[in-house]
Every structure is written in structure tokens, then in C-alpha cells.
Symmetry: C2
Subunit: 288 residues, 2 copies
């Protein structure tokens, strides 16, 4: 993979495998944290946007198509949703979607890079919304790998892995040992959710994530949707559980609690998105 970013006149582009995706706008800030390069950009099409290491991460007017898809299949379907763990997610969007459920009692948000949180709070405040001031949110500026290693068994009802591509600081979030720790600290009727890359632009990585989760958990399935600012626009999230494919069966009361304010997600959309697996990926996953 070859990532680089060029700022030319009023465009910022993400480059990937001979393809570039650019947004017109104005650069607001660029700095290097101890972990990565962070860019804040004001785009005409999607409002203020965040880039990490020159890759589009999120934008004010485009983030729902990512966050709703990562969060609601897990939170609508898990047996209980009292205690949530989010690894990454420093922009606050995942926490905001979780906090829409009254049943949620506490969220540990473990983000390695304090500057991502600080800059998101300052420049992209609508993405975190009220989450930042919600007393149920417990911020931990720590390494997520260490965090899960030191939790007790059955600590969480839901685990959300909201990291970047598996290069740079997010690499270990796709490793066997990390995901085994996740299984250990997840309660039996719980659901794990992770972004799982594009089946088009990162085909092998996508396949590997799903296969690894199927090895470690009893059930795991990918779900497909659209994130225009990510490579290829076709994106995936993978859900895992131990009891049965928990993530396939949203609960009526929770659907009613959130549906009205969803842009993309609905019970019907979710059912479709699990089935809309491209034939070539279904064949790859069937190989042992």
C-alpha cells in the first residue's frame, strides 16, 4: 500500500493504489502527534473533516454512514448493553451513537492519541455531540491493546473497535492476541463490532479480518455499506458473538428508540447489508 497526500491549490486528496479521492476546501490545521499526522480540513461538500496520516477518517456531514453502521447492529442485538468498550473512536461519533440508548450505563472509550480527541472536540464538535459531557462516558487516553489485556473476564456487554487501517497505530487492533483478549473480556450474550476495511481496495485484509474473527469467536459475519470518503467507497464492518449470530436480530424496543434519527441504519437496511456480500468475497470466505 502506498499512501501519500498532496495539498494543491484548494484540494486535498488521499492517494491509494493509483486512485485518488479529493475534497475541495481549506486547510485548517496540520500537526504531528506522537502517534500520527493529524489534519483538520474544511471541505465544501462534507463540512469539517479529519485526516490521520493523510487518509480521510471522518467529516461532519458524512460520518453517519460509518458510525451508525458500526454501532447499531451491535447495540440493537446484544443481550445487555450496560457496559460498553470502545477502542479508538477519538472523534466521538461511536460514543455519541451508543449513548442514544438509555440502557447504556457506562462507556470506556480508550483512545491512544489525546490530540485526536482534543482536535475533534474543537473542530468537529457535532460528531461527538453531547457525548463529551455525558457522565456515562469514561475517557481513557491509553493503548487499547494494553487495556484489554488487563481487564477481567466478562467485563463488557459490547466491544466496539473503531480504529484506522491496519498500518500505523491501528495495526495491532487486527491481531490474533488482541482479538482473543476481546473475546475473554466480552460477556457471553455480547457482540463485538469492528470496522473491517473495503472488500474492493483491501480485499485480502478484509478476508483475513473475517476469517480471524470466525476462528476466535463462534460466529462472525461481515456487513457491507457505503462510505464515500474511504477508498473505493464500499466499506465493511464485521460483527462477532459466542451464543449465536446475535448481531442478526435487533430488538424491537431498541429499534424504536433509535430509528427515527438514523440516516442510514434501519432494521431492513441491516438485514440487506448482511446479505449484500459480493459473490467473489462469499467464494473467498467459503475457502478453508
Amino acid at each position: 500500500m502506498n499512501y501519500k497526500l498532496k495539498t494543491r491549490s484548494e484540494w486535498v486528496d488521499e492517494y491509494h493504489q493509483g486512485v485518488r479521492y479529493g475534497l475541495q476546501g481549506k486547510l485548517i490545521l496540520e500537526e504531528s502527534s506522537p502517534f500520527q499526522k493529524i489534519t483538520i480540513y474544511d471541505s465544501k461538500r462534507y463540512g469539517k473533516a479529519l485526516l490521520l496520516d493523510d487518509c480521510w477518517m471522518t467529516a461532519e456531514k458524512s460520518e453517519k454512514c460509518y458510525h451508525e453502521c458500526l454501532i447499531h447492529p451491535a447495540l440493537c442485538c446484544s443481550t445487555q448493553i450496560d457496559n460498553i468498550l470502545i477502542i479508538g473512536g477519538g472523534d466521538g461519533g461511536s460514543a455519541r451513537e451508543c449513548l442514544r440508548y438509555k440502557e447504556v450505563k457506562s462507556i470506556d472509550l480508550v483512545e491512544i492519541d489525546l490530540r485526536v480527541i482534543e482536535l475533534s472536540q474543537k473542530y468537529l464538535p457535532t460528531i461527538g455531540g453531547n457525548a463529551w459531557s455525558d457522565s456515562r462516558l469514561n475517557l481513557q487516553i491509553k493503548n487499547g491493546i494494553d487495556w484489554v489485556k488487563h481487564r477481567k473476564e466478562n467485563s463488557y456487554d459490547v466491544i466496539i473497535i473503531d480504529g484506522a487501517d491496519p498500518i500505523g497505530p491501528s495495526k495491532e487492533l487486527f491481531s490474533n492476541s488482541f482479538l482473543k483478549d476481546c473475546r475473554r473480556i466480552l460477556k457471553h450474550g455480547g457482540v463485538l463490532a469492528t470496522q473491517s476495511e473495503s472488500p474492493e481496495s483491501f480485499q485480502q485484509i478484509h478476508i483475513n479480518i473475517v476469517k480471524t474473527l470466525r476462528e476466535i469467536f463462534d460466529y462472525a459475519d461481515p456487513m457491507y455499506g457505503s462510505v464515500s470518503i474511504y477508498p473505493s467507497g464500499l466499506w465493511s464492518w464485521t460483527f462477532a458473538s459466542m451464543e449465536k449470530p446475535k448481531y442478526m436480530h435487533p430488538r424491537k424496543s431498541r429499534i424504536e428508540e433509535i430509528s427515527e434519527n438514523c440516516q442510514i441504519w434501519s432494521e431492513r437496511w441491516q438485514q440487506g447489508a448482511f446479505n449484500a456480500i459480493p459473490a467473489f468475497i462469499e467464494r473467498e470466505l467459503a475457502k478453508t
Copy 2:
């Protein structure tokens, strides 16, 4: 809408609403036909590609995610598939997918621009494949609007509308009078299929197409998928029928005939793609 294309060093970009999508490669040819600007470009990522009026239309290694989705829900589900009409589709990809069914006896391919066919045959031969030499294919270099106006009732089992965006030469392919003619010349158990733009980048146009088809036909439903080279990457196709939602029920024998060589389409994928309607579009379509 503001479309323009810039060739800078070795990139060609399509510009749309403050977003640009570019492919790295080499310009092969650029000319103006009586109808539009035609560009042939050799891209690193997707092989040789065709642009019309500076918009990406198709590319050798990316075309299946468009053509399979337009063709197979119609051809797997229509009562009969003896006689097919394709309006547009000068790259040959739609004809190629139709001709994979042995039941198909004849295809009228009505393309307004001879140069699109000639340049596709020369530079993108894999997209048309064997279709160009298949005796069942009947090429008509004519205006599709006139063509449907002068056909008799019940002329076709399936009608495929494979045009560009509803500006320029394809504009009339989304008009009431054209679609009414399509209904008139379609047999009762038949299916009409049309590309129906991006619900993200062309939201209002997309809604209008679906609503117009619902007015003219008894049943019409949009289906969603991914075409990376089109604006936003999220694309749609809409299917219409008179008997019942015909396009929802693929026939076993036809599924078996084509599945093995499909990249994207499968019976399961199709079922998912009809359900994967974003919540905000479902709400818009429910408004009268």
C-alpha cells in the same frame, strides 16, 4: 451540477460538487462525436476506461459491478427473456451479460453514438467480449426515444436502459413520455431495468426516477450497490414490472446458468441489495 475534467500530469479526475475522483494512467484518445466528448484512458488501477463528457463511464476491471447489477435482476426474473431491448450500452457490457442466457433469442441494442461503439470495440474489447460477433445481437445506431415510440405493443420481454446521467444526450431517458412508451412495448410478465444514479450525489434525481417509475408501472423498486468510479461510489438501479414485483424472484435455472461467473451478483446479494436502502431515502420515497 458542475462537471469538468482536468488532465494534470498523469491523473484524470472527474469533478462533482466539490469532490473529485481520479485515476492515475495515460491518456489514449480524446475526441468529440456529434453527441459528446469521448475519452479513452489507460488507468493503472482498472485498466482501460471510457469517459463521456468528462465523467467516468466504465473501465475494463471495474465494469462488472455495474453491468451484473443492471442485467441479472431483470433477466433472472422476467417471465420470458426471448427478446431484449437495450437503450444505450454502447460499451457492450450489458449485451454481453444478457447473451450469457441461452434463452435469449435477440437483442436490439439502440445506441445513439456510433463512435462509442467503435471506440469501445477497439480499446475496451473485453467489455463487449463475444457480444459483438453474436448473431443474436442487432445493433441500431439510432435515437432510443424514437425507437421506442415506433415499436408495437408487447415487443420486448425485457427493457434495459443503460444511459449516462440525465444531462446531455441521456436526459430524455428519464422522461415520462419515454418511460410510458417503454411500458407500452414491454410484455406483461416482463421487467424494465434502468440505472438510477447515486442516492448520495444525485439524491433528488434518484428519488424522481423511482417515483416516476412507480407512477407509470404498477411496481418499481430501487436496488443499491457499489460502483467505485461513479460519484460517491454508492449507486442504484431501479426495476419495474406490471404483474407484481417480478424482479424480486430469480428463477432457479437461470441462477444456475450464470452464478459461477458472476463477480458481484448472486441471489443472496440481490436480495440484500433491494433491502439495503438508506433510511433517509426510504423516508423520502414514502412521502406522497
